[in-house]
């Protein structure tokens, strides 16, 4: 069992309320870094000093927030109205168990039983504004005694490993898989340069923590570790499949928010090839990561993105392949250890 992934994915940290997961990560890294601090946004930034052989700084980022829900009102029957933090397909929410607020009050996102649906209602998507979280409270006052407006709710999904232990199911692999990989890098031997690790907040609501973190880090290059949606579901047409589970680290070239630094991308691919680490080019096009916010702070820095492919992103249950996870740790490590000033500085 990968205990790191279990701990990280079972911890709660919806965008804007990352305290629990931040404290967990802090405890996991504190013995392996030279200094750490939490900035006003809540980003956890840690420095792992290098051997002194190379005179530059590299920022490695993973966002610690996850998509979740935000309680907006308690209705007269003690049911909780909610809004979303991050992007959801409303169809993924009904019938799911959630934990609300710091006291982790258990609730369920109620769905009308099929017995009670009228025929026309089968084809309609229930909008989030019509959904409620039911915490079993008998009245508004009873609910208000346990939950406050403004508190967050996260899904309840225990971490599990299936398929001979190489496939993992859990919530929030986006981006706790990246956080776990970054923690593993911090636990390894020092790099030739100072490595600045940023566990960033509020990615899912618009890359809000990352710009601040990158400005503070003032690094010479950045590598962002992510979990990107795998698009390998059954598809009869030979059109535009995306990265697939189990086929290696997903390397970004271009998404909606960035064109990745071509030299850094080439360097990473070279590191993968020379270390026999499988990789796949993530289909260029949509999507966005913290890279967009980090690439252009100050005078700009070369930035690239590596990702673990994950199925069912932004639902209560994601799936990743643990070989892909091991490979992102290996590839990030190999690419960092072989990084030189020539790769990242232009003349």
């Amino acid at each position: 069992m990968n205990e790191l992934l279990q701990q990280l994915t079972e911890a709660v940290g919806v965008s804007g309320a990352e305290k629990e997961v931040r404290r967990l990560i802090r405890d996991l890294i504190v013995d392996h870094v030279d200094e750490w601090e939490v900035d006003t946004m809540g980003n956890l930034q840690a420095t792992k000093r290098g051997t002194g052989e190379a005179d530059f700084r590299v920022l490695v980022d993973a966002h610690m927030d996850e998509v979740g829900l935000l309680i907006t009102d308690i209705d007269s029957q003690g049911m909780l109205r909610f809004d979303t933090a991050g992007g959801f397909d409303p169809r993924s929410l009904l019938g799911k168990i959630v934990q609300v607020g710091p006291n982790k009050i258990t609730g369920v996102i109620g769905a009308r039983a099929v017995h009670l649906l009228k025929s026309g209602e089968f084809n309609k998507v229930v909008q989030i504004s019509a959904m409620r979280i039911d915490i079993g409270a008998k009245s508004k006052d009873a609910a208000a005694g346990k939950v406050s407006v403004g508190e967050y709710a996260a899904f309840v999904t225990p971490y599990q490993e299936i398929e001979g232990g190489r496939t993992a199911i859990g919530k929030a692999f986006d981006d706790r898989a990246g956080c776990a990989a970054l923690i593993e890098l911090l636990r390894g031997d020092p790099y030739p340069f100072d490595l600045i690790a940023s566990f960033s907040v509020q990615e899912e609501v618009g890359l809000r923590g990352a710009g601040v973190a990158a400005y503070r880090a003032n690094a010479d290059a950045a590598i962002i570790l992510e979990c990107t949606p795998a698009y390998d579901l059954p598809n009869k047409n030979d059109v535009s499949p995306n990265v697939a589970l189990g086929k290696g680290v997903s390397i970004y070239v271009m998404d909606r928010g960035t064109i990745q630094d071509p030299r850094l991308v080439a360097h990473i691919m070279q590191a993968a090839t020379s270390n026999n680490i499988p990789y796949q080019v993530r289909q260029p096009g949509g999507g966005g990561t913290n890279t967009a916010a980090m690439q252009r702070v100050r005078g700009g820095i070369p930035a690239a993105t590596l990702a673990v492919p994950g199925r069912y992103a932004h639902t209560p249950a994601m799936m990743i392949n643990l070989d892909d996870y091991d490979h992102i740790v290996q590839l990030a490590d190999a690419a960092l250890r072989s990084l030189t000033l020539e790769t990242i500085r232009r003349s």
């Binding site: 290059a221 059109v239 535009s240 271009m254 289909q283 690439q295 005078g299 232009r346």
Partner: protein, 337 residues
């Protein structure tokens, strides 16, 4: 000037892949520069110090930006039969694609086809187009997913009307290069940074980083703007051949009012044709410069251009001349806002 224009507009340089453009422009501007740097994003930054510093305090730091990149496409999937599906780099309109030609960074040429049109009255979305590089299967496709391609179209001069695939914004680069050539250094008292920027077409990203690095006092972009002088055009008071367009507003920026006044005055004093521009859709590197760091006074000299983001963008040589003259006038005089 047409030789310079032809050289720049026919070169390859989609957003993010401007290395060739930078290599092309660098020797052209080197004779005029005090120093040249390339930043992490790939912006080519040409620095010229002031002839004499003002008695009271620092010279103004002026940033001029013309973007080297052009719109293009990027291969996103290779089918078993050897066709490439692709995504856009910047604002690519599907109705301009069919039958067009593209060239990849490694020189491979492809033509653009599309899935069968069931209804000729409708336009396919981008994901129903493909590039045919002449391959017979996936294994003999000479490009890979993630490779970028630019459009291919030769430069034409119909009298004063100049036509090319990437007037946006190679013509802005031409204006910057010509202005550097004509500028009398002994009259230029600013700390001048002429930035040939990258990744404008995907969201003025290069200029954002460059401006965050330079923190200029004044920012002026050189870019194309639309016109209202073709049949059934969206109404817009800019026409080809009526002079440099001084931008007042576009959808990403309201120009600094004092800078607009100063630009108009310089044009009027020097007898340079100009028109005022209000662009309803689109923006330029000036947007990024305006709000970089503590902000700066930003504006834009626009070159009127028809058919923007098609393979045949058209400008008028007289407007290019006016734009060069206006930029030289602005830089040769005090910028007192």
């Amino acid at each position: 000037m047409n030789d310079l224009i032809k050289t720049l507009v026919e070169a390859y340089g989609p957003s993010g892949f401007e290395d060739g453009m930078r290599d092309l422009i660098r020797p052209l501007v080197e004779p005029y520069a005090d120093d040249i740097t390339v930043d992490a994003m790939g912006n080519l930054i040409v620095h010229l110090g002031p002839a004499k510093a003002p008695a009271d305090g620092e010279p103004l730091k002026v940033m001029i930006a013309a973007h080297m990149d052009e719109i293009g496409v990027m291969a996103s999937h290779i089918t078993e039969e050897g066709f490439l599906r692709f995504t856009n780099i910047g604002g690519v309109f599907p109705h301009t694609l069919l039958g067009g030609r593209v060239q990849f960074g490694n020189g491979v040429t492809g033509i653009i086809g599309c899935d069968r049109l069931e209804d000729r009255g409708k336009i396919h979305p981008l994901n129903k187009y493909f590039i045919d590089v002449g391959a017979t299967g996936r294994d003999d496709v000479p490009v890979a997913v993630g490779d970028a391609a630019g459009f291919v179209r030769p430069f034409e001069a119909n009298g004063s009307r100049l036509i090319a695939k990437s007037m946006d914004d190679r013509i802005g680069c031409v204006v910057a290069i010509e202005a550097l050539k004509r500028l009398s250094r002994d009259r230029m008292n600013h700390d001048l940074y002429v930035v040939f920027s990258v990744q404008e077409e995907v969201g003025t990203r290069g200029a954002q980083a460059a401006a965050n690095g330079l923190l200029p006092d004044i920012g002026i972009a050189l870019d194309v703007t639309g016109t209202g002088d073709v049949p059934e055009a969206r109404s817009m008071n800019v026409s080809l051949g009526k002079g440099a367009a001084i931008k007042v507003k576009d959808s990403g920026m309201i120009s600094h009012a004092g800078l607009v006044r100063l630009m108009r005055k310089r044009a009027e004093d020097a007898g340079i044709d100009y028109q005022l521009e209000v662009l309803e859709r689109g923006s330029t590197d000036a947007r990024s410069m305006q709000i970089a760091g503590p902000g700066c006074a930003a504006g834009c000299i626009s070159i009127p251009c028809r058919y923007i983001h098609t393979p045949s963008e058209m400008v008028d040589a007289a407007d290019v001349e006016s734009s060069v003259a206006l930029l030289v006038e602005i830089l040769s005089n005090p910028i007192d806002l």
